[in-house]
Symmetry: C3
Subunit: 133 residues, 3 copies
Amino acid sequence: MESTEITVRSGDRLVTDLTGELARFCAGRGDGLVNVFVPHATAGVALMETGSGSEPDLAGAIDRLLPAEDIYRHRHGSLGHGRDHVLPAFVSPSVSIPVLAGEPTLGTWQSVVLVDSNGDNPNRRVRLSFLEG
Amino acid sequence: MESTEITVRSGDRLVTDLTGELARFCAGRGDGLVNVFVPHATAGVALMETGSGSEPDLAGAIDRLLPAEDIYRHRHGSLGHGRDHVLPAFVSPSVSIPVLAGEPTLGTWQSVVLVDSNGDNPNRRVRLSFLEG
Amino acid sequence: MESTEITVRSGDRLVTDLTGELARFCAGRGDGLVNVFVPHATAGVALMETGSGSEPDLAGAIDRLLPAEDIYRHRHGSLGHGRDHVLPAFVSPSVSIPVLAGEPTLGTWQSVVLVDSNGDNPNRRVRLSFLEG
């Protein structure tokens, strides 16, 4: 298995596109499964369209479903940070994508993105792993 | 890795059962991991019971959590289509299932289903990939 | 692929930590991908912090998002049991984690947990599978 960790600057952005980095990592590797894994407890990975308004739509949905209010037991960090710890149960920090001839088999409108509602941690690590098959 | 793409007619159905196709794909393949991947930005894959009312229950939950209303920035397609683009962040379009002796190790009540709230695209592609182990 | 099924007593607990069992299963296995799979239709697997209040926070979120009320078609089991069948569409029963030198590459604050809102089934099976790479 080829595995590497990259660092991504998410800052205050909820959605950070990782598709380019993933394509570069897979290039030349043949067929297999690529896994995108975030070793953090307050971020997830998703496949979604970018650039057509779905990033603020996801932000709105997360704010409605998991409001950043004073309703959580988890008390570290900023007010409402407890919701950042609930997020990965719904937006998993791990996703696997088939790769054929060194290219992830993403659909035309799919991007791989980091979903990070936690502005307190502006830099995030993302592990890319390729299992040849 | 053995990988193939099938076409599924989901039409207006939210939930389309893929268990039979998955079983046929895995038959005779030995041990490994099978990945079910939907290369679309408005559909997901889930493991759930079918035939006992959970399909309309899931439809109701999605309508409550991600209402198909005029609250999204994404403006293509039908009214409320923006929610179809948010869905895959919560219902991932990728799931992996262990396979032993050519059979997915699904529980008695588990089916693999396509979750597709987007009636505008009645035909969907689903990629099945088997990584021997 | 090395694959084994363990039994976990979840009882009435929503969140049961599996990190120790996973570490023991991976020890000595080298590099690869480990898959944690729950062959049940009313439970999921998540990566989250434990011991700092996020377990009751997740319980609260699930109760708000998927209330255990009389709103489901699925009529088996206790009142509100229908929501247990909707849960795995959002909290997938399958997660894969990269393993390096026999150790899952979990982040400092990440634990692998069973998420089981169904108190009617106090004992759960969990399949651990290691695909060497």
